[in-house]
Structure formats: C-alpha cells, structure tokens
C-alpha cells in the first residue's frame, strides 16, 4: 500500500518534474549572475528591483517544493504479472456506476487531474479501489451511496 509521506509519480511525471527543476535552476542562475538589476544595493523603491526580488523569492520557494518532491519520489512501476489482477497505482480501471461506464487511471496526488481521467490514490474513490479486483464492488459513502463495479483492470506503464 502507498505510503502517504511519499510522492508517487509515473516515469513521465518524474521526467516533467526533473525538467521543471533543472529549468528553474538555470533561470535562477541567470538571474543571480547576468540579469540582476544594477541598483541591487540601493534601497530606493524601484519597480524593476521589486519585480526581480519577487521573482527570486517565488523561484526559491518553487525550487524548495520541487526538491522536496524529488527527494521523496517513489516511481510507479508495473506490478509483476501475478499481481496485475489487482488495482494499484498506475492501473487503468474501467468501472460501471449506475449503468454508466467510467474509466480512469490511478495516480499519485501530484499527477491527479480527474478532468483528464487521472484520479488520486488519496481521494476516497482512489483509496477504496486500491487492491480490488475485477468483479469487486466498492461503495463510496458520501451522504449518497455510489456503487463502483470493477469491470476491467489494465496496466500500461512505460
């Protein structure tokens, strides 16, 4: 079962985050070497200086956030064939809900975007689906009960 202190990422998701981190590092390097406004030591209120300062503090906080993610990343891997009948991170799941078919892939919170069909393993639906097999049902009990019947489980992680 996934550990809540880790960030679960697909290979593609990890690549994206690494690239973002490297790009930001490069931007920071440029800003602190070549692009720094000449009035850096002045205390005058200067819009350019202020924008520069804001940019840097935003950059730093973003870099810290990404570093923390990279330090605690667990890569989502294809489970061994014998375990592919159960839902785990990375599974594409076809379900039936009240007669309608719905489909989504279970991902970590950083990659979740239900509008794109990616559900977080930490959402109530994602959490309950983990470990279930074709033919199983889960009941999501917000005030209204919703029954998810699992029809198909597929793994296609690169």
């Amino acid at each position: 079962m996934p550990d809540e202190n880790n960030f679960y990422l697909t290979k593609e998701g990890l690549k994206k985050i690494k690239k973002e981190y490297e790009d930001l590092l490069q931007i920071k390097h440029l800003k602190t070497t070549g692009e720094a406004p000449k009035i850096l030591h002045s205390e005058d209120v200067d819009p350019e200086y202020l924008a520069y300062q804001e940019d840097l503090s935003m950059l730093d906080s973003k870099l810290l956030e990404l570093e923390n993610i990279l330090k605690n990343t667990k890569l989502i891997k294809m489970p061994p064939k014998t375990q592919q009948d159960a839902i785990d991170l990375g599974a594409t799941v076809l379900v039936e809900i009240g007669g309608s078919k719905d489909e989504f892939v279970i991902v970590g919170t950083l990659e979740a975007n239900p509008a794109e069909g990616k559900i977080s393993n930490e959402s109530p639906v994602g959490r309950q689906l983990l470990g279930k097999k074709v033919g199983d049902e889960i009941v999501v009990s917000s005030p209204h009960k919703t029954v998810y019947k699992i029809k198909k489980i597929k793994y296609s992680i690169a």
Binding site: V45, D102, F104, T109, N113, G117, H144
Partner: protein, 423 residues
C-alpha cells in the same frame, strides 16, 4: 493604466453571468461567477492556512480570483458541456449524476475546453503589463493543470465551494439534485483539510449538526452573496451589484493597481476580501441614509453630504463601533488567530492606519466609482455628481489619481459634468 481599466470592465461582466450548472438545475436567481469566485478566494485562504504543507496564501488567493475569469469570453463550461439533451426532463435526469466517460473521451474534451479557455484568458489579459499577464496566466495554468500545491488546493477548493453552494440551494429547495457534486468531490478532493471540511459539511447538512467555525462563517458569507449594495438600491438600480461582487472586483483592482507597490500584497488581497464582511450584521449603510427623510431622497442623492468635521468624526466612530461589533459576532466561533487577523485587517483598512489599509480603502472607493460611472453610462439620470465630489476627497494616492483621470476620460465628457446646482 487604460489597459487595467479595460480589464476591470471586462472582468466586471462576471458580476452579471450566472453559473451554468445552477441555471440548468432551475435555481431561481443563481449565483454569479463573481460571487462564486469571491467565496472560493475567501474559503481557500481560510482553509489553506490550516494545510499542513505550508502554502503561499497570496498565490492561493490570486489563483482563486483568476480561476474562472476566462469565462468572460469562454462562458461557463461545466463537465456536461455538449452532452446534455434538449429535453428538460432528460436533462435534469442526466444532471443528477456526475458525468461518466471513457478516459480517452475525457482527455479529448478536457483539451478542447482547456484550449478554448486559454485563448479566452489570453484575449482578456492581452493588454496588461507583461508581469501581470504572466502572473495571471501562470496561476491559471497552476489551477488548470494542478501543477503545484496552490493550484491543486484551489482546484479542489473550487469543487468544495460549488458543493457547499449546491447544498445551500438544496437546504432551501430539497428537490435540488446534489448527488452529482458529491460524486465529483469523492473523486477529485484528496487534500486532508478539504476532506475534513467535507466531513463537517455532511454532518451539518445531513445529520443536522449545528454549523460551527469555518462552516458557519462561510455559510454566512453564502447568505451575503446576494446582498445588494445599498448605494445602488437607494438610486433604484435594477439588478444592482452585490457587496461580494464588488469585493471580487476590488481584489482584482488591488492586485493590478498595487502590483508595483512595495507593500504587503498578501495582506492587501486579504483586506479586499474581508473589508465588507461586517455588513452581514451591520448592514450596508451609506452617508446619505441619515439625511433622507420624507420626499427629499432625490435631492439628497444629488450631492456628496457636506458635514462639519466634528459631525464626521462622530458618525465615523458610531459606524466603526457598529461594524466592529458586527465583525466580532460574525467571527465569534472562528479560531482566535483567524478572528484576530480578520478584525485587524478590517481595522487597518477602515482607519487607514497602514499603507496597505490606506491603499485598499482608496481602491475600494475607486471600484465603487467605476460601477457608478457604468450605471451613469446606461442611465444619464443616475446621480453621478455625489460620487464625483466624493472621490476628490477620498482618493489621494498619486497612482490612483492617475487611474481616476483615465476613468473619467472614458466615462465623462466635460459637457456632462455640470454642477447640479447650476441652472
């Protein structure tokens, strides 16, 4: 600055745009996109502060403010767009549940929606300075793609606020279908603070436990969404701007007009959102109220009230005490730290004791004047002179005075600004 004005006028259209989902459900006078965005910003700020993984609250508020502004041009596309049957009965049936689709179809529809909204946002912000444009686009993308903590929080908070609104409609009209929204949040919301809030919502609405703390506070804000500004009611404006719609536009104006100022931006945004909430209990009084009696209303509204300094001071203190008491009542069950912060922000803005408070107070009057000028543009009988006189006393920040000039150039011709006392 002309471009900021253009932006604010266009973004102001969100005050007239009802949210599609509630229109389809047949809700009478549904909330507008501006009203929704206001409470999303306030709610995400308050709940965001409780989040274990610390977030940048300025970013949370800005992302909340910007999350739906593309709808000025793109319209409000719900997850059901393009799929609802024309037949109202079948349509209502479909709306009872969250939309279910194959993954590929979801992805394709999301791309179409995203591209349309991105283009709309680019169109809306194209005249702004590069810095502001970049910030707005970045924050919107953070929300759209849930690409950082703040973006994810706002995206999920948006769904929670919508559910809360649906439950409030359901509370007063029990045939309002809310199951679809519950189904949605169960798939979308995974942030512990928001999950905890959802649990409390369930207890409040289904197990009839009394609302307390943030829920009680945010539900009071919900009632406030429809409260029209007294100034417009007095002047008999049809479908007048509400207090929260004004606060939404003021927050956007503070963001853009204050972006180059060496001030605390997070504080100014919070002030814009919190400044008027005392009116839930204090009511929205205007300086004209005490002067109107019998049939003299039209005469009184013509001019900004002239009073002696002592009288002004007396009225200010009276007003201050009343609003503070109202704010204390409204925030009574909030965490003491949050309560203190909300009262402190209001106090700084009301008494203008800090640079931030002074600036936000002036922007508040500037966006009020902008709305008055828009009413005047539609109806030349709208008494504009009182506002014209007032802003000349209330606005003194050099940048805001420049903005005032631009505003008047756009809306007032020299010929029209005639002292009403002159023949």
């Amino acid at each position: 600055m002309e471009k900021i004005l253009d932006f604010l006028i266009k973004a102001g259209n969100l005050k007239k745009m009802p949210r599609t989902g509630f229109v389809w459900l047949g809700v009478k006078e549904p909330e507008t996109i501006a009203q929704h965005s206001y409470r999303v910003a306030l709610m995400n700020w308050i709940l965001g502060m409780k989040e274990k993984r610390k977030m940048n609250i300025e970013k949370v508020i800005k992302t909340s403010l910007v999350h739906d502004i593309c709808e000025v041009y793109a319209g409000d596309m719900t997850p059901y767009w393009g799929l609802l049957p024309a037949d109202p009965v079948q349509r209502l049936e479909m709306l009872k549940h969250y939309i279910r689709l194959p993954k590929g179809v979801k992805l394709k529809r999301d791309r179409v929606k995203h591209n349309k909204e991105k283009k709309a946002l680019q169109k809306l912000i194209k005249g702004l300075d590069q810095k502001d444009r970049k910030e707005m686009m970045d924050f919107w993308m953070d929300y759209e793609k849930m690409r950082n903590r703040e973006g994810r929080f706002v995206r999920q908070g948006d769904k929670v606020e919508t559910l809360l609104q649906a439950l409030e409609y359901w509370g007063s009209a029990p045939d309002t279908p809310v199951m679809g929204w519950w189904e949605e949040v169960e798939e979308v919301v995974d942030i512990p603070v928001l999950r905890d809030f959802l649990d409390k919502l369930e207890k409040n609405f289904y197990k009839k436990k009394a609302a307390f703390g943030e829920i009680e506070f945010l539900m009071k804000i919900g009632q406030f969404k429809k409260m029209p500004r007294r100034g417009w009611v007095l002047r008999e404006v049809k479908n007048p701007e509400t207090i929260v719609e004004h606060a939404f536009l003021t927050a956007l104006a503070v963001w853009l007009l204050g972006s180059r100022k060496r001030l605390n931006h997070e504080k100014m945004l919070k002030m814009s959102l919190a400044y008027e909430i005392c009116e839930i209990y204090a009511g929205d009084e205007t300086p004209y109220d005490k002067l109107i009696s019998g049939g003299n209303k039209n005469e009184v509204l013509k001019r900004w009230p002239k009073l002696l300094k002592k009288e002004k001071e007396r009225l200010f203190i009276q007003d201050y005490k009343k609003e503070k008491k109202a704010l204390e009542k409204l925030t009574a069950n909030l965490h003491p730290r949050l309560k203190k912060e909300l009262i402190g922000l209001w106090d700084e803005c009301k008494r203008q004791t800090t640079f931030e408070g002074t600036f936000v107070n002036q922007v508040y009057w500037l966006t009020t004047y902008l709305q008055a000028l828009q009413y005047y543009k539609i109806n030349k009988k709208f008494p504009i002179w009182g506002w014209y006189e007032q802003v000349r006393q209330y606005i003194y920040d050099p940048a805001l005075i420049r903005f005032l000039d631009i505003l008047e150039k756009k809306f007032l011709s020299r010929k029209l600004v005639i002292d009403p006392d002159q023949p």
